[in-house]
Symmetry: C2
DNA sequence: GTGAAAGCGCTAACAC
DNA sequence: GTGTTAGCGCTTTCAC
């Protein structure tokens, strides 16, 4: 492997272009208010390219007082692959604004978020899930300029998913609904948010609250839940997400029940394998990339002082109907 | 939100502890060769804690010439959630060595890896998939000290998975095997590696090479592949991974065939929903966290000059048998 | 319009 | 053992 060749510095560029470092800095940063002659500008740009110059991030942020690093904190959740679309999109959108996003997956063994934040010198920390107040404080002390409170995967933001699931079932004649809650504790708050939407839809339709039962991704466990629902004459269940829905389907199979006749099931997130179940899983999907774009806008808004005006919402939320009835 | 409070600097700690910045630096970095009196040491540590002092990463790496950031580059693959276990574990293992790992997901819209590397001032870049030579060069120019060539998800490293799949099927009497290849082009090289293992096992057992057929995660597409295998009297198929295996199962269902009687299927990776199919999917699993730990050791080895001695291997590779026969 | 000079916070020789 | 002193590479105020 090639050892690192000597890296060009701002001074090298200045020399090569026959100007001072100041000028280089101005040109490369498009410093407003300093109209630099096209001629000089070109020379600098040229030299920079020729020398493959890249400002050293540490020097830059040390001098400027802030970096252009955005740290995305992903909590320790069994999240599906869909999330990666979101991550990529968010990174892309931020990149267009000159920000670099990197991700940190929380894990039992890993460092605490504030430590990571400090280590990478992030000036923005974006959370997926809600940060508790202590964490927020710690992040600010760790050097973050802005910490984005939960929006995407939290609180009211997720309710529309549950509401849409329930409305779909209600619209197809179901009067007693169930809700399949994941057992995994880290998924709890997200699930409760989605559940709130289901509850809201039920109440609005004059129905009882849904029968909430937990399940893991074990057939036996799911079968128990299914038994619970059928006992209470539930005819349709909204599952927290597609994986949970697949577990419910498996639980039904264990009882010799078939969807949607014996019990209708609707998932959420539209994971790739949702279409491979028997019967294919009806689910709710939304435009994650679009959510990411909105999110990026929020970040830019906060960064540039304007208060986060637009609150992001789930874009293109809709039911993907796969099995009849 | 609380605006960033003034952050304590090394000088503040020095004042509070009544020593000089040098001493602070030595104490905090456990500089070897400078036995500092326990007394002084304590004072410094105390002051640091009291002031919630954290060295500013940019200043530190600017002065030291290198950061302690490790950038993990994840290629644009539809990777499952299992990967997150690996990522967390790797981050954890590196953290124990004082390194901070962050992740970058390659994406069409995102920045190029070398740009990200430069932006976060990473001194180590770890790849998942193979980096081509140009990228490696670019990474070095972007400031990386070490770029770790592929090991985990590439080349011979993955063959044992395919071999184990095939051996399992062969051991149960199957004489004509099939291989379910994913259509997704980014998965190609990984799949070919696993396939090599299957081919090897077949040849070693004196069997013909497996019938390789591609499929997507669409039932119709999978059904085609299934037809192809049955036509050629294949009785057992090794799938690239569990998702592909699930697709094969769905394709079989479309033909009214049942596993494992009509066609035995074995997946790989042991994703959570593997146990929820009908019948439950037999698959191959391995200890990803352990692989991550080995990987971390390699990184540390390279960083400390010793040449990467141990080549990581798949740990605890084994078949998880779920359906009979 | 461009350059000189003063730091940003930290590390690491080098003296004391 | 501990403090003094240079920088690391860049931004940015302030003269020219």
């Amino acid at each position: 492997m090639t050892p690192a060749a000597k890296r060009a510095t701002s001074a090298d560029v200045a020399n090569a272009a026959g100007v001072s470092r100041t000028t280089v800095s101005f040109v490369l940063n498009d410093k407003p208010g300093y109209s630099i002659p096209e001629e000089t500008r070109r020379r600098v740009l040229d030299a920079a390219v020729r020398l493959d110059y890249r400002p050293r991030a540490s020097a830059r942020s040390l001098a400027a007082g802030r970096s252009d690093i955005v740290l995305l904190a992903i909590p320790d959740l069994p999240i599906g692959a869909g999330i990666s679309r979101f991550v990529e999109e968010l990174a892309g959108a931020l990149a267009e604004h000159g920000l670099t996003m990197v991700t940190h997956l929380a894990g039992a063994r890993g460092q605490l978020l504030p430590d990571v934040c400090a280590a990478v010198d992030a000036s923005v920390v974006v959370g997926f899930d809600a940060f508790d107040e202590d964490t927020v404080q710690a992040l600010y002390r760790a050097g973050a300029d802005v910490v984005l409170p939960p929006r995407v995967a939290s609180s009211p933001a997720l309710q529309p998913i549950g509401r849409l699931q329930a409305d779909h079932l209600i619209g197809r004649g179901h009067r007693r609904l169930g809700y399949a809650m994941p057992e995994h504790s880290n998924l709890r708050s997200m699930a409760e948010d989605r559940l709130d939407g289901v509850v809201g839809a039920c109440l609005d339709a004059g129905l009882e609250r849904p029968t909430v039962l937990s399940t893991s991704l074990e057939i036996a466990r799911a079968a128990q839940a299914v038994a619970g629902w059928t006992e209470r004459s539930v005819t349709g269940v909204c599952a927290f997400n597609d994986e949970t829905a697949i577990a419910v389907l498996a639980g039904m199979r264990a009882h010799g029940l078939a969807a949607p006749g014996d019990l209708a099931v609707i998932g959420a997130d539209d994971i790739p394998t949702a279409r491979l179940t028997a019967p294919p899983l009806t689910t709710v999907c939304f435009d994650l990339p679009e959510v990411a774009r909105q999110r990026a806008e929020e970040i830019m808004a906060v960064l540039s002082g304007r208060e986060s005006s637009a609150v992001s919402t789930l874009a293109d939320l809709q039911v993907v109907q796969r099995s009849s009835t």
